[in-house]
């Protein structure tokens, strides 16, 4: 099977797609910046892990999924949820612990769920979502082959980090997905660090995409700061999955611009490294691309930016105004019988 590094991508994006992707990336960035503010103002609690810097991965992959496709995420899940269409209001309200949140205030930042949007969850334990996503992919195959569903095959996109790729669940799930040719994308967001552990100190093989070789499935490494490249790689993997050709491992090289969580002092990553990656910011990079391709003017992008600012203001206001879940409902939802 092909193990490849994707260098330069000729785009497969149409103008409409490109603008939707841009909007999604801005949504993710502005949402997360606002989260940081709200956290420091004491509006949200616990461990809050921001995604800033990695937007090209979420937007590049999820923008190509339909409403019937599935996404699974980690504790760094806000932006995957937004990309999958969970309203900013519902995500923000969840972070505020409100009844209107996408997990009704029970889950919090690390446990975002939306059955309606086929968001299988934020999973707080590292690698916990990988087997679960393998399960949704199994269901999609079952739907086709046992229940003879006539529609196109649903696809699952499973997101996790470099650190998770050293966990047994990653290998065990890839094996099963390859064995049964499940329609799934294993998207490893290699941001070089798992908390304070440098990837090079945690994995004997630094190129994660090469681990696909062991399961005889395609493994691709892509510049995760370039949404055009991510889009292209994901498109091929999605097509393969829908055609019944099985899983793909995508390693997206990326970087988080903030500490591991808002509680992390972020003392171990050196300044130079951070600055180098800052220069790779996927958003200005994509803006340039859009100008170059004549797909948008600065004015048009600015107006998208403004719309997003307004949407996030609205989400915060909504979260603030929303009620807390009633304490006497504390036992609600424990069992399947609870409505």
């Amino acid at each position: 099977m092909i193990q490849e590094k994707i260098k330069l991508a000729t785009t497969s994006l149409t103008q409409d797609e490109a603008l939707a992707v841009y909007r999604d990336m801005i949504l993710g960035r502005v949402f997360e910046d606002r989260c940081a503010q709200m956290y420091y103002q004491g509006k949200m609690f616990g461990f809050v892990h921001l995604y800033s810097g990695q937007e090209a991965v979420s937007s590049g992959v999820i923008s190509q999924l339909g409403p019937l496709d599935y996404v699974s995420s980690t504790y760094r899940d806000h932006v995957h949820a937004l990309s999958k269409g969970v309203p900013a209001r519902a995500v923000m309200a969840e972070l505020f612990g409100k009844a209107t949140g996408c997990s009704r205030g029970r889950g919090g930042s690390m446990h975002l769920f939306s059955a309606e949007h086929r968001l299988l969850g934020g999973y707080a334990f590292v690698a916990e979502g990988i087997p679960v996503a393998t399960g949704s992919a199994f269901k999609s195959k079952y739907l086709k082959e046992v229940l003879n569903d006539p529609h196109r095959t649903e696809v699952t996109a499973c997101f996790f980090g470099d650190g998770a790729s050293n966990n047994g669940a990653f290998f065990e799930s890839m094996n099963m997905a390859a064995l049964w040719k499940l329609p799934i994308l294993f998207v490893c967001e290699n941001n070089l660090w798992s908390i304070g552990m440098a990837h090079s100190r945690a994995s004997s093989v630094h190129d994660i995409y090469k681990k696909a070789l062991a399961f005889d499935i395609p493994g691709v490494q892509v510049d995760g700061m370039d949404v055009v490249a991510v889009h292209k790689v994901a498109k091929e993997a999605i097509e393969r999955a829908r055609a019944g050709e099985g899983p793909t491992l995508i390693e997206a090289l990326t970087y988080r611009f903030r500490g591991h969580s808002l509680a992390d002092p972020d003392e171990l990553r050196d300044k130079e490294e951070k600055e180098r990656w800052r220069k790779q910011d996927p958003i200005p990079k994509f803006q340039h691309f859009l100008y170059e391709q004549g797909m948008a003017t600065e004015l048009e992008l600015k107006s998208i930016d403004r719309e997003i600012e307004v949407a996030i203001d609205d989400a915060v206001q909504f979260a603030l105004d929303s009620p807390e879940p009633p304490v006497d409902e504390i036992y609600r939802f424990i069992h399947a019988e609870d409505e």
Binding site: F45, G46, F47, E94, G97, K98, S103, G105, R106, G107, G108, S109, M110, H111, A124, F125, V126, A127, G163, A164, N166, N167, G168, S194, I195, G196, M197, R201, A202, S203, L268, E324, P325, V327, I330, Y331, I334
Partner: protein, 326 residues
């Protein structure tokens, strides 16, 4: 005496025991360069090097198994669970090997390993980061389980746990790491495992607790004392083996028992203790023993719901009074 924070007391214990015995080493996620998620092993990799302060990949099941193997062959691992909850992934290796392997090998191998780290309900960390695994592990034969309540306790008990030749699970509470206390400056300051601590003597009721809930009990006791009651308070320290004798001795005075625990009511320690009291001290009780535990729900993120999930001082006051007036 030295004034130490809880996490510093743990570090002191580790340093003293590592200096004392070159076979003692630490492993876990981010224990080295990062210094541990709650700074317990901060900077120790500089002193002991990478192999004695071993940063592991995120592979709980396998690095726990690795620790077991190293322990079987003569080393004395201190395994840090970045959060003890994550060790659910290592349940098999801890239970099957840490707990049972000495027996299944007919006494040929021992697994002198300490498994320590933060747990309990913190501040809105969500269900998966708010686990109380002591009850999950309680039934496993061969394990010892410790849950300290103060820095001094933490130091003395951790040193005992490191010197113990069994697998000891050592549960630290996330909300206690910044507690401060004076600790004797003595390399051989040890608090033996298996002995409970009578924190306050009294005749009216026996309140048994451990870890963070001890502090909730003491807060409640202040109010009860102000109202003229004289409760006796016992900090279990070691949950397994349980110091039933100290509880029994207390019941001979008070004849009333209230257990306060942060784990779930169903399948929690309280139920076990009450069953043992029934077996051994039934005649001493003037009223049915009561347990105050967490509600049987995954810990909700919402702050108000979370607070209601665990026992609060006012709950302790209410239940204690009911019992004393029964």
């Amino acid at each position: 005496m030295a004034s130490r924070l809880f996490f510093e007391a743990l570090r002191d214990a580790i340093v003293e025991e590592m200096d004392r015995d070159p076979n003692v080493f630490v492993l876990g996620e981010d224990v080295g360069h990062y210094g541990g998620s709650y700074k317990v092993t901060k900077d120790l990799h500089r002193k002991y090097g990478e192999l004695r302060m071993l940063d592991t990949p995120i592979a709980e099941a396998s690095f726990s198994g690795l620790a077991v193997g190293a322990a079987m062959c003569g080393l004395r691992p201190i395994l840090e669970g970045m959060n003890m909850g994550f060790l659910l992934l290592a349940f098999s290796q801890i239970a099957n090997n840490g707990g049972m392997l000495r027996y299944t090998s007919g006494g040929q191998f021992t697994v002198p390993m300490v498994v320590r780290g933060p747990g309990g309900v913190g501040r809105q960390l969500g269900a998966e980061h708010s686990q109380r695994l002591e009850a999950y592990f309680y039934a496993v034969p061969g394990l010892k389980i410790v849950a300290p309540s103060t820095p001094k306790e933490a130091k003395g008990l951790l040193k005992a746990a490191i010197r113990d030749n069994n697998t000891v699970l050592f549960f630290e509470h996330v909300l206690l790491y910044n507690l401060r206390e004076d600790i004797p400056e003595d390399d051989d300051f040890i608090i033996p495992l298996g002995k409970a601590n009578v924190l306050r003597e009294g005749e009216d009721i026996t309140i048994v607790s451990y870890s963070r809930m001890v502090h909730h009990c003491l807060q409640a006791v202040d109010s009860l004392v102000a109202e003229g009651y004289e409760p006796e308070v016992i900090d279990l320290r070691t949950l397994k083996p349980l110091d039933l004798e100290t509880i029994g001795k207390s019941l001979k005075k008070t004849h009333r028992l209230l257990i306060v625990e942060e784990d779930y009511k169903t399948g929690g320690l309280g139920g076990e203790i009450i069953a043992l009291i029934d077996e051994h001290y039934f005649d001493e009780l003037d009223a049915p023993a009561v347990r105050l535990a967490s509600k049987d729900i995954p810990t909700p993120y919402n702050g108000r719901m979370e607070a209601v999930t665990i026992p609060q001082p006012e709950d302790i006051i209410r239940e204690a009074k009911k019992l004393m007036e029964a």
